[in-house]
Symmetry: C2
Subunit: 319 residues, 2 copies
């Protein structure tokens, strides 16, 4: 399987892959791949559970449907796939909840040129959605292709979902940009395809926090990723939320989850962030570099603040 | 969308399809279809939830994984698709439960020549699995192709899962054939492909009970299906369980759920049940006929006992 970074969640995936043995193909990337009639399909499935990933009082049911679908579509973006199709499996305490959830799922699919091709509705005490996405891709960008010398870049702004989450958990009402980013993440399908065409060597989407997720590229590519936290693209609302919890904005953003932005390594010569914004509507920021690993410098992530290494923890839904 | 038979569950699907509008392709068959590079893919997603579809004390976690996966694979069988691939999304209260669940999913996939290509593990208070399956199919058998004069056939034996369920719900221990059929349904992939090659005009898999599911073929094909309950293939254990609840075995079996057998219409001249058994290992039984509908005889299902029409109710997880 594709090498994963450290973490209990990823230990579980490692054990599953070992247990499945020949019953599974290669696991561990953002998507599975399937060659059909000369075309390459990318597939991914992702679940979103009430009281684990969201609380009902934070979001409308349409927003819950959008968010779950956008999170799944983000995995297609992460490999550079397009032409998304969605299957939405809903588990609902009450039948009437299915319609607004599915409307949100449909809206998220349509927002990136996709369509809902199927689904399922079943009863359960706990509201949850499992969204499966299928896209087509010419040459998937895997996590394993980062090379020493590549630049490390990230799309959009980081930390807003964590800012929203923290505000809600402390009984407040998040600033609108933070709430919007949590409730309506925009799948970076267009940006993922554009980055793939620019020669992206490795890519993933940020679901568990920059610090932990970068570890997956480092592990799969067997390289060291040096990230200058001072370069992270951070919205003012994140600075305010971080300050409210007595933290600096950069480590707060780097340890947040569910940004659904793309983390990508690009050739050293790449310098077209402005073109990315112009062509895909998404800002792109260089936040670090890929360095060689070796016996004295094992694969991993080095986070720097003012040139000094710092330690962070990723985001784990079981923690 | 494909016309569905009566029922609250199907009203929900009708409302969802209406709400999605252009955000969805045609919904309502066992699978969604996708043309890729000249090949036809069939896709389906299906959820299985603790205390709705099973109780933990009835099944091991491996069996839960097998059963959920077999149920999803059954949708591929229902359209005549093969070469199954599985994505397994698990929601588990405890991380350690993921491994046996996934091992069961893998075993079910391997049992029909399939493989697990991806998945997801997330935390939730309620154990559930959403299994998405992808297969290839030359000419899918839809629900809408039944023609007057066709024979109506069913694979395997009916009613065993209901017998197991009823025994458990009354505090008993099911007879082994009933328990086995509930815990290890065998996806009829080979039989589905064989039946498609024999000219099956309409097909579906029995998940909500023969009586209700036959209504979907009748609605989609705009025909009347006459079923002679006296011809239903019923195991001795079903007769015992039905008798214990004071019912006749045939209506008991016809109103059971989760048989995961195939209900299929075949040209009148078809007479190769023995060949089906020899080639696919699955018995095939003629249980009725497809009749024309008209102004005085609307599309629907007519169940006969000793030549007399009887009324039954399908199985609804929300009921």
């Amino acid at each position: 399987m594709t090498e994963l970074g450290p973490g209990k969640e990823f230990d579980t995936i490692r054990r599953i892959a070992a247990a499945l043995g020949a019953a599974a193909t290669e696991l561990g990337d953002d998507c599975a791949f399937l060659s059909v009639g000369g075309e390459q399909l990318a597939l991914s499935t992702d679940s979103c559970v009430e009281r684990v990933h969201f609380r009902r009082e934070w979001l409308t049911l349409q927003e819950v449907g959008w968010r779950a679908t956008a999170a799944a579509l983000s995995d297609l973006a992460a490999v550079g796939a397009g032409a998304p199709r969605v299957l939405a499996a809903l588990t609902v305490p009450d039948r009437s909840e299915a319609e607004p959830l599915m409307a949100g799922a449909g809206a998220a699919a349509v927002s990136v040129g996709g369509v809902v091709i199927g689904g399922n509705v079943t009863h359960g005490r706990e509201l949850s959605l499992t969204i499966t996405v299928v896209g087509t891709v010419k040459q998937p960008v895997r996590r394993s292709g980062a090379r020493p010398g590549d630049g490390l870049w990230v799309t959009g702004l980081l930390g807003l979902p964590r800012a929203a989450l923290q505000t809600w958990l402390h009984g407040g009402i998040p600033a609108e940009p933070a709430r919007r980013k949590f409730s309506h993440p925009e799948p970076r399908i267009a940006a993922g395809q554009w980055l793939a065409a620019q020669g992206a060597s490795a890519m993933l989407d940020l679901s568990d926090g920059l610090a932990g997720d970068a570890g997956h590229i480092a592990a799969a590519s067997r390289c060291r990723l040096e990230i200058d936290l001072g370069h992270l693209p951070i919205a003012p609302e994140v600075r305010a939320a971080a300050a409210a919890s007595g933290q600096a904005a950069e480590p707060f953003a780097a340890a947040g989850g569910e940004d659904y932005e793309l983390l990508v390594t690009l050739p050293a010569a790449f310098n077209s962030a402005e073109e990315c914004l112009r062509k895909t509507g998404v800002p792109l920021t260089r936040i670090g570099s890929c360095l060689a690993s070796g016996p004295a410098a094992p694969p991993g992530v080095i986070l720097l603040t003012h040139g000094q290494p710092v330690e962070l923890r990723g985001f784990d839904h079981f923690a």
